[in-house]
Symmetry: D2
């Protein structure tokens, strides 16, 4: 309890704040010593709101701060490499948001730097693995409950309300295409559950609702089929025209099937209304995954304290991205042939 | 297949027509030879629509028709006794709608007449026993799946849309109070599942939505608690201000619990809509119980053909009514004490 | 009611008997006048059990029977063409089981013969369209409830118990590969819901559990991705190593999503048991689809009586098969490349 | 963040430890400065495990510790009064576990002492009000979503595994009868949702499975019906022979119905197994309510910091107990009449 792990948060968007709140308000063995963002006003505002001692607008300054034990890198996917390399050089523990980077080259550079900094913890924010339902699914599969897994099915769908923001992000180059941005979770889960790597990939989709996305080789819905090295399969679907924040997975085994969130319920409440029996759904990914976000960070802090190696590695980040890029490429090829 | 059981239908309201349709359109071993109603126009209309040879406005005339094997009595609860007594005297097989009668005296008279006509089949229309889910529940309980049953919980709720019609029926003396009209199903099920008779009864409720019902000692919602002779219990709730036609039952045993229609789904369809995950509910009792109505009549015809005794007896009709009357009486006493 | 449509049943396996029972026991406007099977003993047994006037072992003899109005062809997929052509020549109404045939050439011959016999009704047994949940889904989509459909997802899985029989059938050449045998339903539904034809198809799978199937180019699980002419997509999964008879569909639209049988419940019954909350599933396709089988045949008889054209045409049978063959071919190509 | 609220924990059983863990490991604005238990070994063990500065075996000693801001009283129901009175005299903030006491006299004494200490926060541990689903239900009811509430239905059932421990507790006088011990939650919820107090109560039940309970006027299952002052009703059922930890509530309004935990799911995971579709249930109340336990304590600490009055008052504790005692008394009278 006495010595707390001191964190610096790099990137103060939605994800940066989620991690900041968990570290500062929930995890007693950690504290946020400094935050770093692009605009001085934002940095100052966050610093005051969360009672953080220091605020910076440069990663170098933040890393120069000697007391810092660890950093959370929550910048955009294209801005992960630089802070990761620097934080590795500075010998910090590193929690990096997913996707690890936007290109495989960047991923490889990150992997190399992480290897140099091997005495410290490094992980990528695939928080779904820490969600109690996914974690239990993994345990039960490993206990042989469904025989041998032969298929992973995952659908990750954002509500249509996100479209205007996403389109803006796509136009500004902040958002990577949807099979990469959203798909990175399912590509990680597919690899995790099937224990294999993808060899053949097919994908289709379209800018069905937000037609402007097409001009950026992006889309609002996509569906893909993947064959894995060990003969298993995956169906991965991504969308952002849903009625709610809806992430659903299924692992089909030779002896049974496990499903996560087959009905996207928000909590234990349901209602009988004029239209029927209604279960309110998750309105945003923040509420659906709040426990997973807490648990992944809690686990990361505990890894630092106990010198344990985090479950999700930089290599997982690379392989997930490679799979995402394949899906996106397959989508583009599907479009070309039309 | 050659000789068909010839039915006469007495009473051409909703229930009379349901039975008519099953006998005439679905059950190949039966046919409707005659219908009987109060108004000549209605009789003629039904006769033509369903291609029935004969139509009458008097039960005596219908029963005088020599070829008739069986009758369905689907008049109002207060008009069951007379046709049952006459049909017994005429030696017909009899299917009588529930509740058997409005008073215990009438029930006893009916029981006596049925005993005199013992060579023929007699049953009361507790169709829920023939619903595949209830039938399976009974089988699984008898197989010991939930240990010894200790409690029956049943809620039978009509949608609020029925209120204007019901109020009219109550004013005209056609409808008996709700613990009797609607409650007769759950009182039968409680007796059936618990294998015992009620000894102490408490009930509350009120005319919460349709306040005019109060002037007729009637109510739109009621809840009751009953202690049974064998130490078991029942909770029976009746309502008619629901959002859908909703009948839900639970049988709690010493080793497990069975539930029927815990979520009042209409079919296998569900939808993701703006408000959440929506399962359309049963809009009327007719759709919910159409299979049960068919099966109970199919079973009755088969009883006639094979000389088998129907499962539901006149005694069940009497005991169900006695239980209903106790519930209604308990409700009235609860009100008095207020 | 007076004149009944007289049917002949060709093929007395599971499907032949389901149709026979509906026609003989449930549909009052029809009757089975003759049955036709390969072995005289089987024919005689069925004839007696269901009280059928005539039994034959040759289609020609059956069709020579002058009073026959209609035939049900429920032989194996490879034995549909001959009786369809003959029944067309004999001017009968024809209900043919799915898949329409095993090859596109046979389908085309059938289509031509059906065109010659255009005054009579012809349909293919895609009974799912008559299931109340699928029928309601179609209606609600056409009413615009989910905007424009962009994707069909369908999983059709038989329980593992079927494997020994299926392997035997595959060895004997009775069963066509699984994307054709089982997939024909989902290919029909995908076309129906999306209103378009497939243009690109990918499929993977394997003989994961019943490894002997591989020797026959068959498999126990398969998953596929299809791009349609109008830019929509379909995911079709077939299996026969499930824990129950499980058919689940989802239609994703631009404004909402409809799901059919998302949880494969058998009826309204659920149980609280030591392992959790348990809903018994469909143990066989017969119970899941009994109402659909009845409704499709009831509708066919009504088409004959009223001279209405059945919804499912020979062309639908051809196009569904073409789609199935593509899926199977894609599966084989996926295997080759391994 | 600088000054933390210093807590003393009195009582180191299951509940004491849950609160200790939340205060010590999760809530950054609080810390546990001292623990107090009956046996020195237990105190020492907990002190070391959770890194607590001080341990005591006497409440007086703990309260004499000057830095203490607040206490959590988590002793048995019969041992609440003394520490509450002393903590009030010492001017501490007090969180007391439910039920407030075993007798109404003790409750009244506590209420008086709390009034004397009015400058400090006092609350009773009805954590269900802090469960996100119950909290949302309350909000939606207050927003008028279901019209006027007319009925509360609550079932609170422990798994049968608890029976041996409970019997031991009952024999040792630690456990109060089940309508009081378990029922206190539902009596609080019924009052909260209906906004009224009970006037007439009926209850039945029995020692159906653990027959030894009967000798102590206790029971393993009970069901009750209550009429409220404002004409509303409640059905409260308590059990401890369930297959899982199962708490289910329903609030019926004039325009709709809300349900909490209608199916007692553990998380988002479900499985297709040989027996059907299985959703694992809550195995203990600890997992079901962990979030509620955290939120109620988090809210209490925040009340202390901001000088806000806790929602649940000593009066609520008294009235909940009075309701429980009525239910238990009604049960005993029901038994007597048998």
């Amino acid at each position: 309890m006495d010595k707390k792990i001191k964190f610096g948060i790099i990137g103060l968007g939605t994800m940066g704040k989620i991690h900041l709140q968990n570290l500062q308000n929930r995890i007693k063995t950690a504290e946020v010593a400094a935050v770093c963002g692009r605009t001085p006003e934002k940095v100052e505002k966050v610093r005051e709101e969360y009672n953080i001692p220091y605020g910076f607008t440069s990663v170098d300054e933040l890393l120069a701060f000697p007391e810092l034990d660890a950093v959370v890198i929550a910048t955009g996917a294209d801005a992960h490499k630089e802070p990761v390399l620097k934080a590795c050089a500075a010998g910090k523990h590193i929690f990096c948001e997913k996707p690890l980077a936007k290109t495989l080259e960047d991923c490889k550079e990150i992997e190399a730097a992480v290897k140099e900094n091997a005495g410290k913890c490094f992980t990528v924010g695939f928080m779904r693995r820490f969600d109690p339902s996914y974690a239990e699914a993994k345990e039960r599969i490993e206990a042989g409950e469904i025989g041998v897994p032969i298929m992973y099915k995952g659908s990750s769908i954002d509500p249509a309300e996100v479209l205007p923001d996403h389109l803006e992000g796509v136009k500004n180059g902040i958002y990577v295409p949807w099979f990469i941005e959203m798909g990175s979770h399912d590509t990680d889960l597919a690899r995790w559950f099937l224990g294999s790597e993808p060899i053949k990939v097919h994908a289709y989709g379209g800018a069905y609702v937000c037609k402007e996305l097409a001009a950026y080789d992006d889309y609002d819905n996509g569906a893909s089929l993947t064959a894995f090295d060990n003969g298993t399969m995956a169906y991965i679907q991504v969308g952002r025209t849903g009625t709610c924040s809806h992430v659903e997975s299924e692992i089909v085994g030779t002896k049974g099937t496990l499903r996560v969130n087959h009905v996207p319920r928000r909590n234990y409440l349901s209602a009988l209304v004029a239209e029927g029996h209604l279960e309110a759904c998750q309105d945003s990914f923040i509420s659906r995954w709040s426990e997973a976000f807490f648990k992944e960070m809690d686990d990361f802090v505990e890894c630092i304290i106990n010198g344990r190696k985090p479950q999700v590695t930089a290599y997982d980040g690379t392989m997930s991205l490679e799979f995402c890029l394949k899906l996106h490429q397959a989508y583009l090829e599907g479009k070309e042939n039309e």
